[in-house]
């Protein structure tokens, strides 16, 4: 595929028409500038978006965000809505790390006055928030407790003293997705989850301390409690081995389901089943349970991060507390109602590497966010900026209430390791005033900023397209990763 084959709608929106390939059921709508598009023309992002457009029961268009990159089956940065309940649900279109997402907490600690404490804070965060390959979490739950986590998510954390009511109010789905069915989660998945709850994991997951560098929307920032010069904390992780196993189990089981339901697909990773089938219902129950595990996981890490803040700042300043701004998923399937071709349609919105971005007045938002729109948290690549945005009316109309989720990779991990040395990168980050606590130098090299697109360009694109609005830009001052 080349750019000439795309239909240009405007400077930030393109279309692959349904006529591009005979098996497409809907068109593909791409939010990107020409420059961002050119960066992905050599990988398989758009081919994978065309494959996704063959899923049965799709409505509207498959939407692709400017941080898109090649995944497996479904592109990262992809959004697809299937009519509920007769349309399909595809585990591969949600991904192995179910409810991978981001939590942002804000403080009233002025960075300039706390600069000297950053080293200690980074070390304490590293101690309290386990990260890295195979690391156990901050708590170990028994069989019964794990089922409670899977059923109740952050509500379990609240009951056990790891959360506040305010945390839950500012979490997507209040951190507890209804319809979760622990009975649909395999014993193996549960075994993987029991020891890992309350851990960051490895790869591109991290805990990061940031300073609010610039506010673009004073009103929205005030509502969120974000002020220029103040410290924030971001947690990026998901459902760990439990979610990976849930997806592995159902992608395997759905290999036969597609034959049973006569579904023909261009890629076996896209296997799916009607949502009202026994297979579809079982996966929905299991996916929601894994999503609840991820919400509880980030809640436990937030609790641990608060301890690190307390040990660093208590006694030195009056207000050292972290309050939650929002917690948002970027790998999830959600039953929502959207307007499609002038009618209200109940759909399952598959978001894989795409963030829900509901506009003002949308259902499910806490009262303060109903006024400004839902916060959208965009982690940048390591050492670069992150962003806080809000969803808009346009995102509800054009992208099933969705926006981008990050910077998006442009360089393979092995190429990054050939180009960048982990120890040199660490020194460079530290020269730029960023404390780094990393378990693996090769892992650090893989996440080098040069392996990613420019997050500012991605954010400018969604902003220009109107599917999200800029609120604040955050600059990292401490990074903790496995």
């Amino acid at each position: 595929m080349n750019i000439q084959e795309l239909k240009k709608i405007n400077d930030t929106e393109w279309e692959i028409p349904k006529s591009y390939r005979h098996d497409m059921r809907v068109p593909v709508r791409i939010f990107a500038t020409r420059e961002l598009l050119e960066q992905v023309m050599n990988d398989k992002s758009l081919e994978q978006a065309v494959n996704a457009a063959t899923l049965p029961g799709l409505v509207g268009a498959v939407v692709v965000m400017p941080d898109m990159h090649q995944g497996y089956g479904f592109p990262i940065g992809g959004v697809a809505a299937t009519e509920y309940p007769s349309g399909v649900i595809s585990p591969g279109a949600i991904g192995y790390d179910i409810n991978c997402g981001v939590r942002l907490l804000a403080s009233n600690i002025e960075f300039e006055s706390a600069k000297k404490d950053m080293g200690r804070l980074a070390t304490l965060l590293n101690q309290h928030c386990p990260s890295g390959v195979g690391k156990a979490g901050v708590v170990k739950v028994n069989v019964k407790e794990l089922d409670e986590v899977l059923r109740d998510g952050s509500k379990w954390a609240l009951k056990n003293g790891y959360a506040t009511q305010a945390d839950l109010a500012r979490t997507e789905e209040t951190g507890s997705v209804k319809g979760a069915d622990p009975g649909s989660v395999s014993e193996r998945a549960k075994q993987r989850g029991r020891e890992q709850i309350g851990s960051v994991g490895a790869g591109n997951h991290f805990v990061e301390v940031e300073v609010v560098e610039q506010v673009f929307d004073e009103r929205a920032a005030n509502v969120m409690g974000l002020r220029e010069g103040m410290l924030t904390l971001q947690i990026h992780c998901g459902s760990r081995g439990l979610g990976h196993q849930v997806c592995t189990d159902y992608v395997r089981d759905f290999q036969s389901a597609v034959h049973k339901y006569g579904i023909d697909l261009p890629d076996r990773e896209l296997v799916c089943a009607p949502m009202d089938s026994p297979e579809g219902e079982a996966y929905l129950g299991a996916m929601r349970a894994a999503a609840n595990f991820a919400f509880a996981n980030r809640q436990l890490l937030a609790h641990s991060a608060r301890r690190a803040f307390e040990e660093t700042f208590a006694g030195k300043r009056k207000d050292w507390h972290l309050h939650q701004v929002y917690d948002i998923a970027h790998n999830m399937g959600k039953i929502e109602t959207h307007e499609v071709d002038g009618r209200q349609v109940k759909v399952c919105v598959h978001r894989k590497g795409a963030t829900r971005a509901f506009g003002p007045g949308a259902p499910g938002l806490p009262p303060e966010y109903k006024v400004i729109g839902q916060p959208v948290i965009i982690p940048g690549s390591m050492g670069t900026a992150s962003w806080v945005l809000v969803g808009t009316e346009t995102s509800m109309e054009r992208s099933f209430g969705s926006s981008c989720h990050g910077a998006g990779r442009v360089m393979s991990r092995s190429q990054a390791k050939k180009t960048v040395r982990g120890d040199e990168l660490r020194r460079e980050l530290e020269r730029n005033g960023i404390e780094v606590r990393a378990g693996s130098m090769p892992g650090l090299a893989e996440e080098a900023p040069s392996a990613y697109k420019d997050v500012d360009a991605v954010v400018e694109t969604v902003s220009a397209a109107g599917i999200a609005k800029k609120v604040a830009r955050l600059r990292p001052v401490a990074v903790i990763k496995g």
Partner: protein, 132 residues
């Protein structure tokens, strides 16, 4: 038999070839361990058995590699010696290995993305994408 890395923007991918299906499974395991930077300690040696059913080679391949992902994560163990038999759609694996000395990168899952075992001049050949 052998394997080579295929560039992938976000995840990991390898091309594997071998004379037959048991050889393809063994070489895929070696390729996966190589990607993850797995190194084993010398002692103690550990043994595990694994059995599964599947009418397709692809099904057996994903199931077998997923089993190894599980052992690496849960038991912090890897394997370097495999005896594989496939009879009447049933895969039996006797494997011997050791605790991990090091693991550079965790593999989340073995995907089915464009997974197809083909017959080529090199025998059986397959491309596997791993989610990392």
């Amino acid at each position: 038999m052998g394997f080579e890395e295929i560039p992938h923007t976000a995840d990991w991918s390898i091309r594997v070839w071998a004379d037959d299906l048991p050889g393809l499974l063994v070489e895929s395991a070696r390729g996966m361990y190589w990607l993850a930077g797995v190194k084993l300690v010398d002692r103690p040696r550990i043994k595990r058995r694994y059995e599964t059913k599947g009418t397709e080679g692809e099904t057996l391949l994903v199931a077998f590699l997923s089993e190894l992902v599980y052992y690496a994560e849960q038991e912090y163990a890897g394997f370097d010696d495999f005896v594989i038999t496939i009879k009447n759609d049933r895969l039996k694996v006797e494997m011997e290995g050791a605790p991990l000395k090091s693991l550079d990168k965790a593999i989340k899952a073995v995907t089915w993305h464009n997974l197809k075992i083909n017959e080529t001049a090199r025998g059986l050949e397959v491309e596997i994408v791993f989610d990392v």
